[in-house]
């Protein structure tokens, strides 16, 4: 009887394939039949789970796509990472008896859904990319997410996480598991005096004294120590050096490694995946060869009217992703215009919470290299208000309901670069608006 839900779900997956309709519906339906669905699958021997506030998709894809050379992988590549999505992926890869016939399982799992899946899936390895402020109406605060994850972890999982983040050290403080750390060492983007505010950890997790940093890589990431107790950054097993975002590469063990983009998170996702694969005993050569192929991605920049356009995709309600974008723009001293906006704040709910806008360090855009900032979309006036309160002169800020209305002005502007600091739902509109060729004969 316990296999009924799997059988029904499996038939729905097959029907979906025939009708060419893919969705998370089979998983949703099977979980409705049996809420203990995850208990009944027979999982592969090697199971890897990736979770965190951001970077789950890229990190798990790098791991899964590299492992494919070694054997079949069950992976939720579509990014369906809550219980229905994970269940649907498992149904796809399982037979009618719930046996998943792959060598590996690699799942990205939403941080708040870990507790529903992990106790049954019992992964050998859990990669925790980060835990940052994210979707406050749903997540409320970071400690709550931390507690949710912590409670469901079983002691036999090896936890792979970021040494640079003192907040993630809480796991080792509270759990008996084996921990493997990765780190990106001081690099040309590191800084010595904090430039971000409103962060989720300032104090020692053990004694609450304020942490001291010899350098920061970004926000709370860096080389820290507690002045009062023995808590400090420890040497990590896997370290990346000579980070070069312009060249989109990191050096690991003297070997250059492509990181797949020009953002700091690309580097952290890559080294997280690297650490995981090394723990799975893949050779350095196998990993580097695979990553250099998988991460050889086209540039996201394009040129129109002699200007370089670059959309940076962020996650609304996640200040850290916007801070990464701002950190990137901050390092570019070219004369530039900036466009900030989104279609909607959340697809999950209708709340209008803009508090997270005040956790973003827009103050870093108050610089003479910034020509104009265009606040676009449905929340243009709120973005403008935030920018004004960052000290940015009002005459530099222009609001617009859409991108089309500012297109002409942006194309005519005497700047060499245009950045879009955008929610992911606005990136395509940005690219379509500014990539379009003019119909005139010039």
């Amino acid at each position: 009887m316990k296999l009924i839900a799997i059988m029904v779900g499996k038939i729905m997956v097959i029907m979906g394939k025939i009708l060419k309709r893919g969705s998370s519906f089979p998983g949703k339906y099977a979980l409705r039949i049996d809420k203990n669905l995850f208990k009944h699958f027979k999982y592969p021997k090697i199971k890897i789970v990736v979770t965190g506030s951001s970077g789950k998709g890229s990190t798990s894809s790098l791991i899964a796509n590299t492992l494919k050379v070694k054997g079949k992988v069950c992976h939720n590549s579509s990014g369906a990472n809550i219980d229905w999505g994970v269940a649907t992926t498992l149904l796809k890869y399982s037979n009618l008896f719930g046996k998943i016939k792959t060598k590996y399982l690699v799942m990205e799992i939403d941080e708040r859904y870990m507790k529903k899946i992990i106790p049954y899936l019992k992964p050998n390895y859990i990669v925790i990319t980060n835990l940052t402020k994210d979707q406050p109406p749903r997540q409320h605060y970071v400690d709550l997410v931390y507690e949710d994850i912590k409670k469901c972890l079983t002691p036999d999982s090896t936890i792979i996480t970021n040494m640079d983040d003192p907040y993630l050290r809480n796991f080792a403080k509270d759990l008996p598991n084996k921990f493997v750390y990765y780190s990106i060492l001081k690099n040309k983007y590191s800084y010595e005096t904090q430039i971000f505010e409103n962060l989720n950890i300032y104090h020692c997790p053990y004694c609450h004294h304020k942490l001291e940093y010899s350098y920061y890589n970004f926000e709370t990431l860096g080389h820290y120590k507690c002045p009062n107790c023995s808590f400090k950054y420890e040497d990590a097993k896997y370290t990346g050096t000579n980070l070069d975002l312009e060249k989109k590469q990191l050096i690991i063990n003297k070997e250059p490694l492509k990181i797949g983009g020009d953002m700091l998170y690309n580097a952290y996702n890559t080294i997280a995946a690297y650490a995981c694969l090394q723990e799975l005993n893949l050779t350095e050569k196998e990993i580097i060869t695979s990553f250099n192929r998988l991460n050889d991605l086209p540039s996201k920049e394009f040129i129109n009217k002699n200007k370089v356009f670059r959309a940076i995709s962020c996650k609304a309600e996640n200040a850290t992703t916007y801070n990464q974008a701002i950190f990137k723009v901050y390092h570019d001293k070219n004369k530039k215009d900036i466009i900030i906006g989104w279609k909607e704040i959340s697809r999950r709910y209708n709340h209008f919470d803009i508090s997270w806008l005040y956790d973003i360090e827009f103050e870093l855009l108050n610089d003479k290299s910034v020509n104009k900032i265009y606040a676009c979309g449905i929340d243009a006036s709120n973005i403008k208000q935030r920018l004004i309160l960052s000290g940015i002169p009002e005459n530099k800020i222009i609001t617009s309901e859409n991108l089309e209305n500012i297109k002409e002005e942006v194309l005519k502007s005497k700047t060499s670069k245009v950045y879009g600091i955008l929610n992911f739902d606005y990136v395509e509109s940005f690219n379509n608006t500014f990539k379009k060729e003019e119909k005139s004969n010039d």
Binding site: H140, K210, A319, D353, S355, D359
Partner: protein
């Protein structure tokens, strides 16, 4: 010059609460008044005498606990400050800190109260817009701050917050001063009139 004390910004920094300080500073500067902001950190002695405006914002429960222990030791200082008619603004779940003064009672909610808020207040004309994302609400019904058209009030009523002299407490985030210039200007006018006394 107006002196603003921002209490424990490294602990009480959930939900963009520093936006309230930014909005107040900006509004003062628009009137040609200089605002000096002092971040009061956890390891410094709490001395409020020289300040005109004190602010406490939302924090994670573990951090609220640390702050509450600290504030408990400084109860007399805070009460003296309030009795001098000086301004304290408390927003979001920081309302669960200063119930220790005994002016109002609080109630832990069984589930998070999450809502868009539309309210009015006798302090200023127009609507007040904000957001609630809290597991604490005020229980006390006398002397509320807002009349809630949408959102959660004290003890399941349509009135929210607490006011005593110039001690203002609300569960609203927003940040409320950044989202409501009418309310910010109320505090600016109050600071100006206090400074003339």
């Amino acid at each position: 010059m107006i002196k603003i004390a921002y209490l424990y910004p490294e602990l009480l920094d959930l939900y963009g609460e520093s936006g309230n300080i930014k909005a107040l500073k900006y509004a003062l500067e628009q009137k040609g008044i200089t605002a000096e902001i002092t971040n009061i950190n956890y390891d410094t002695k709490l001395d409020l005498k020289s300040y005109d405006f004190v602010y406490l914002g939302s924090g994670e429960p573990s951090k609220l606990e640390l702050v509450k222990t600290k504030l408990q030791k400084n109860k007399a200082t805070i009460m003296e400050y309030i009795n001098d008619n000086k301004i304290i603004l408390v927003t979001g779940n920081a309302l669960s800190l200063l119930d220790l003064l005994g002016y109002y009672e609080i109630e832990k909610q069984t589930a998070f109260k999450v809502a868009d808020v539309i309210a009015t207040t006798s302090l200023v004309p127009g609507n007040i817009y904000g957001f609630q994302n809290t597991s604490w609400l005020i229980k006390t019904l006398n002397s509320p701050l807002f009349k809630i058209d949408q959102g959660f009030g004290n003890n399941a009523t349509e009135e929210e917050g607490f006011k005593f002299k110039n001690f203002y407490v609300t569960s609203l985030i927003g940040p409320i001063l950044a989202r409501n210039t009418n309310l910010t200007n109320y505090f600016v006018d109050l600071l100006i009139s206090n400074s003339k006394k």
